[in-house]
């Protein structure tokens, strides 16, 4: 710390977005936001698929076909990830609100747990569905 005297600091300071290193809890956190906004943006698509799935036997089949399109598959698997990540992270936030796992080490290991659950689960469920 002593080496970082004020005189040796380079000014002005630039933030290099590629070099910024977020702690793991920071990464999980920003992904919670990204996943929430992603789900919001794709809401019309999801409601449309819900409508197709329920209107008639024909539209149920049509829904399956729409969902089988490669581009839609990609979007849907992205949304699956978003939901799973947002879900796990949401539970983590609720626990922290209840003062469970607040300290830095616990918070960082619970963030790791969120990623360790949501990513493989996305792959497993995704692989099962397609």
């Amino acid at each position: 710390m002593a080496a970082m005297s004020t005189t040796s600091k380079k000014r002005p300071k630039y933030l290099n977005l590629i070099k910024i290193k977020l702690p793991i809890a920071g990464i999980a956190s920003i992904l919670h936001r990204v996943s929430g906004v992603g789900l919001f943006l794709m809401l019309p698509l999801l409601v449309w698929l819900l409508e197709l799935s329920l209107r008639s036997p024909e539209s149920f089949e049509a829904m399956k076909q729409v969902a089988a399109h490669p581009l839609l598959k990609l979007i849907l698997i992205g949304l699956l990830w978003a939901l799973l990540h947002h879900f796990c992270m949401g539970i983590r936030i609720l626990l922290i609100d209840m003062h469970i796992g607040v300290d830095r080490l616990q918070a960082s290991s619970s963030a790791k747990m969120v990623l360790a659950v949501s990513l493989p689960l996305t792959l497993i469920v995704g692989a099962k569905l397609w």
Partner: protein
């Protein structure tokens, strides 16, 4: 002098509580539907329709839609507030967000009420 800009948002503890409550509702709904899907309710149109039009599902699906709309409005609005500074653009984005959330919510409710 009060110097406030109209950006279409209000602030506070209520929003925080709503975000948590609606989150719990949606989390429960996610678990219920995911479990039902593993039991094969999605295997045919008849089973899917029977599942979604059952009385408990009518109740919680509606709750989930309302929760989702309220939750998404608060969450997306907070995101705009963090990144967009000019009041005019922020207000516009907020209004577009409310409108799209209400539109999607109404659409989803109509789907459920036709069952």
């Amino acid at each position: 002098m009060v110097n406030r800009k109209l950006v279409g948002a209000h602030y506070g503890l209520l929003d925080w509580l709503v975000q948590r409550t609606t989150g719990v509702v949606m989390a429960a709904y996610t678990v219920i539907v995911a479990y039902a899907l593993t039991q094969g309710v999605g295997s045919s149109y008849e089973r899917w329709l029977a599942f979604m039009s059952s009385t408990p599902m009518r109740f919680i699906s509606f709750l989930c839609v309302v929760s989702l709309c309220w939750h998404a409005w608060i969450g997306v609005r907070d995101t705009w507030m963090d990144y967009v500074q000019p009041a005019g653009i922020k207000l516009t984005l907020h209004v577009l967000t409310v409108l799209s959330v209400i539109g999607c919510g109404g659409w989803a409710v109509q789907i459920l009420w036709r069952l």
